[in-house]
Structures are given as C-alpha cells and as structure tokens.
C-alpha cells in the first residue's frame, strides 16, 4: 500500500507487510522515512491512497467512520508526541482511555493505578501534563496505551525521552505484555534496544521496506554498531 499526504509527500510507497498475531516487531529507519506514517494506517488516522490495510481480519481503510472508535479501542498507541490531554491530570488521561470503552467505574479505579505503577508514575497521578518532565509525559502516554489491555500495541518512539535504565524497564514491560499475547510494533531509533532484544526488524527507507529480518540488529548485519565506537 501507499500513502501520499495532501501536500504531495509520498510517505509510503508500495509497502507490503504482514505482522503475525502475538509477534513483536521493530520498525526502524532514519528520520522522516515513514515509520509513523505506517503506524497511522493501522489505527486509521490516515487512509492509504492506494492499497488495503487489514487489522485483526477487518479491512481498516474501508471501515465505516462510526466503527473507527471500536478499532482504536483494540489498538493501544503511544504517540511520538504523546498527545496527552492538557486539561486532564495524569490519572484522568489514563482513565479516559478506559472510560471511553464504557468500562465500569470499579474497573477504572483498579486498572489506572496499576498501569501508572507499571511505568513508575503513581506518585504524579494528580499532576497535569504541563507539570511533568518530558520522560514522565512519555510514560504517561505509555500507561494510557496499556490501560485497556489492547490486542495490539503500537509504540512510536516510546523511549526517546527516557534514560537507559527506564528504557530497559519499559522494554521489559512490553516484553511481558507481548508474552501475554499482545501484538507489539515499536518504531524506534534506539540502537541499543533493538540490538539487545533481537526481534523481527523491519527497515523503512523513503517509504519502502528495504529489509525485514527475523532476529535483526539496528545496523544491517552488525552486532555492535560502528557509530558507537566511532
């Protein structure tokens, strides 16, 4: 499938990709190569200009508008720019994703603190996003994506503002969630993370898939990177 933005940018160009249920996939490629754009197709923020997108057996691009919210409830997304609601506290931001599904208040009261705890933000639950550091906002976004136990989790650069040890914790968390059966797609630039996890790595370049390895590294065919030891 392809995606051409209204301003004529060809963000994705003839991409064909199949992601198995329950798998863990890294999406890499340098800046502006189409990683976020690819993810956007999956939760239908964008519709491909050409081609078809299937998620969980449903054709997403031809979906009726009124069905879209239900798709999105099954797809947790950690946005690259967080997209937190500025008018809601951390707690409310996370709770919101659960409340929209019609969850019972009882469940909300139990799930939200659990998720905040997982990302280490429990003590900041009453703060507004503007009162958080960059990394804390990012973790809040992660908690929100997790809270309703989605079948699919899309993470767009989920650790860009996190220190290495918090990054490890988050990646371990994702691994645990993946083991419980959630499909996870992570778009990232973090070489260390990719290299350590050794999972499927899909590499995008100018909107095309240039490689797709089952147990890949960040740099093609390298164990430890050349940049690091430059």
């Amino acid at each position: 499938m392809s995606l051409v933005y209204p301003n004529g940018v060809r963000a994705l160009d003839g991409v064909t990709l199949e992601i198995e249920k329950g798998s863990f996939v890294f999406l890499i490629g340098s800046s502006g190569m189409g990683k976020s754009s690819l993810l956007r197709l999956l939760y239908r923020e964008k519709v491909p200009t050409q081609g078809e997108v299937y998620v969980d057996g449903t054709r997403v691009d031809a979906m009726r508008r009124s069905k879209v919210p239900y798709l999105r409830r099954n797809v947790g997304v950690v946005f690259q720019d967080y997209k937190l609601l500025a008018n809601k506290t951390v707690w409310e931001n996370v709770a919101f994703a659960l409340q929209v599904t019609g969850a019972r208040t009882h469940d909300v009261m139990r799930q939200v603190p659990r998720c905040l705890d997982l990302v280490g933000l429990a003590h900041k639950s009453r703060m507004f996003p503007s009162e958080l550091s960059g990394g804390e906002q990012q973790r809040c976004a992660i908690a929100r994506a997790l809270v309703n136990n989605p079948k699919i989790l899309l993470c767009d650069e989920p650790t860009g503002n996190l220190d290495p040890s918090t990054t490890s914790e988050i990646m371990e968390l994702l691994l645990r969630i993946n083991l419980k059966g959630t499909t996870i797609v992570v778009a990232t630039h973090n070489q260390a993370v990719v290299d350590r996890m050794r999972r499927r790595v899909v590499r995008l370049e100018n909107g095309r898939i240039v490689s797709d390895e089952e147990r890949g590294y960040y740099f093609l065919g390298l164990g430890q990177s050349s940049v690091l030891s430059g």
Binding site: P69, R72, N87, F96, A97, V100, T105
Partner: protein
C-alpha cells in the same frame, strides 16, 4: 446504572469548566450581555405597546341624541349602548351640562353671553375597549334609532392606528434581528471556545472515544454557559427594572402606565430557554465540525 459514570460525567463538565475558567467566563459574559440587550429591548417594546394602547383607549366617540328623545328614552338608549361588549365605558352629558362645558371652552374666544338659547343636543361620550374597533362601534351606534349624529376623530384614529401598527412591525423586525443576532453571537462564542480546544477533540478521537462520547461534555458546557449567561442577564435586568422603573413612572405619571403589568414570567422562561438552547445547539455544530475531520 453505574453512578460512577454519572459522577464522572458531571465531574468532567465541572472540571472542564474550572480548567478553562477564563474562556468560559468570557463566553458567559458575552451571552449575558447579549441577552440583557435582547431582554431590555423586549421589555421596552412591551411597555411601549401598553403605553400606546393606553393612549388609544382614551379615544372617545361622541354620540349626539335626537332632540325629540325624552329623558327616559335617552337613558334607555344609553343603557343599550353600554350593553355592547366592545364598549369600555361611557358618560352621559345632558344638554344643560354640555352648554356649560361649551361656554367654558369658548371663554375668551367669543362673547359667551351671546349664547342665550341652548343649541346643544344631549350627548353620550363612549370609550371602546379596543382601539381597532372604534370604527365598527361608531357605525353600530349610528344605526340605533334616536341617535342624531356620531362624531369621533376618525382621521386621527386611522392615523394613530397605522402608526402603532408600523411601529409594532418595526419593533417585531428589530426583535427578529436581535434574536437572530443573539443566536449568532452566542453560537459563535461557543464555537470559539470549542475551537480553542480542537486539539483535545482530535486526541479524544484517537484514543477511541465515539463522537457522542466526545460531544457530551461540550454540549453540557454549552448548555450551562448559555443558561448561566441568561441567568446573569435576567438578574441584571431585574435590578435595572427595580432601580429605573419607579423613576420612570414618576416622570410619566400622567400616562396610564400599565407597565407594572407586563407579564415577565414567560419572558424570563423564554430568555433562559433561548440562552440554554443556543448554547447547546452552538456547541453541537461546533463540535461536529471538528469531529468530522
């Protein structure tokens, strides 16, 4: 029923309000000002209507009785006229009294001592309930036997009626303009408050909220802002009325001021409902516009 959800919804509305205080208060102030304007105009119009009705109700039909009628017959005729349901009241002026009045009127203009015989007939001065009916009543009375002539300011009545009518039409047109303006202003204001939060709406959609779910709090807020503005406006109007009305009545004491009887309860309800409704509908359309994209 999950009361938690209800509490959550109300909490949502309340929190949004508190967290956008500046914006919401601005919106409420605008709504209030608009409704004060509309309200004071409606009030002025109603008052003027009553006023002109009061002035018109003073128009009299002078009925002159034939000289052949005796005193008893004359009184019977008066009874008959008084029985007409359109007649508000009448005064019987026997010829002797009429002469006295005429003398009074002409004093200084003519040498009244020259009026030695009484040239006047017996007269009845009739007031009608509805100024529109002056013509009709006059024509009915004319046909009663024993009535010599019927006189009234035919021309003046027609003119005044036409004037009142035009003024009423202009008033109605102005009110339509005002109501329309109120609606536009309030809904534009709500639209701007929604516009300032368009990013929020987009995020809510991305997180899986249905359009209905997103709309809810905005509609409630629009409703509350509209209603709050209206209530504020009504309070201002009530204070203004309490302050100004006595002064106005004092100044215009010579006019049959029925101002106190303007029925306000329905006006209050209407303005309140209008404020709330426009806020609600404005929010509906504004949010919908942002939901579509």
């Amino acid at each position: 029923m999950d009361w938690g959800k209800v509490r959550f919804f109300l909490g949502e509305v309340f929190a949004n309000f508190a967290r956008n205080k500046g914006m919401q208060l601005t919106a409420i102030a605008t709504v209030a000002v608009t409704i004060v304007m509309l309200g004071s105009f409606l009030y002025a119009r109603e008052t003027l209507g009553k006023l002109s009705a009061g002035l018109l109700s003073r128009i009299e039909i002078s009925v002159f009785l034939s000289d052949r009628l005796g005193d008893r017959e004359a009184r019977a005729l008066v009874q008959k006229i008084a029985a007409d349901p359109r007649v508000a009241g009448l005064t019987y002026v026997p010829k002797s009294e009429g002469l006295r009045a005429l003398r009074e009127r002409l004093k200084g203009q003519i040498d009244t001592s020259l009026l030695t015989t009484n040239p006047l007939p017996n007269a009845v001065h009739v007031r009608v309930k509805n100024p529109d009916e002056v013509h009709a009543v006059a024509r009915t009375i004319e046909k009663i036997s024993g009535v010599a002539t019927v006189e009234y300011a035919q021309d003046a009545v027609t003119k005044v009626l036409r004037l009142t009518d035009t003024v009423a039409k202009i008033g109605l047109a102005m009110i339509l303009v005002l109501v329309l303006a109120t609606a536009v202003i309030i809904s534009n204001t709500i639209r701007l408050t929604v516009f300032a939060r368009r990013r929020e709406i987009a995020i809510m959609q991305l997180v899986g909220a249905t359009n209905g779910y997103i709309r809810g709090p905005f509609l409630a807020e629009g409703l509350v802002a509209g209603a709050a503005g209206a209530i504020l406006a009504l309070a201002i109007l009530a204070i203004a009325r309490a302050e100004l009305l006595p002064k106005m009545i004092a100044t215009l004491s010579f006019i049959p001021f029925e101002i106190a009887r303007v029925d306000e309860s329905h006006l209050i309800l209407e303005l309140l409902a209008a404020g709330a409704a426009v806020g609600f509908v404005g929010a509906w359309f504004s949010v919908s516009r942002h939901l579509r994209t």
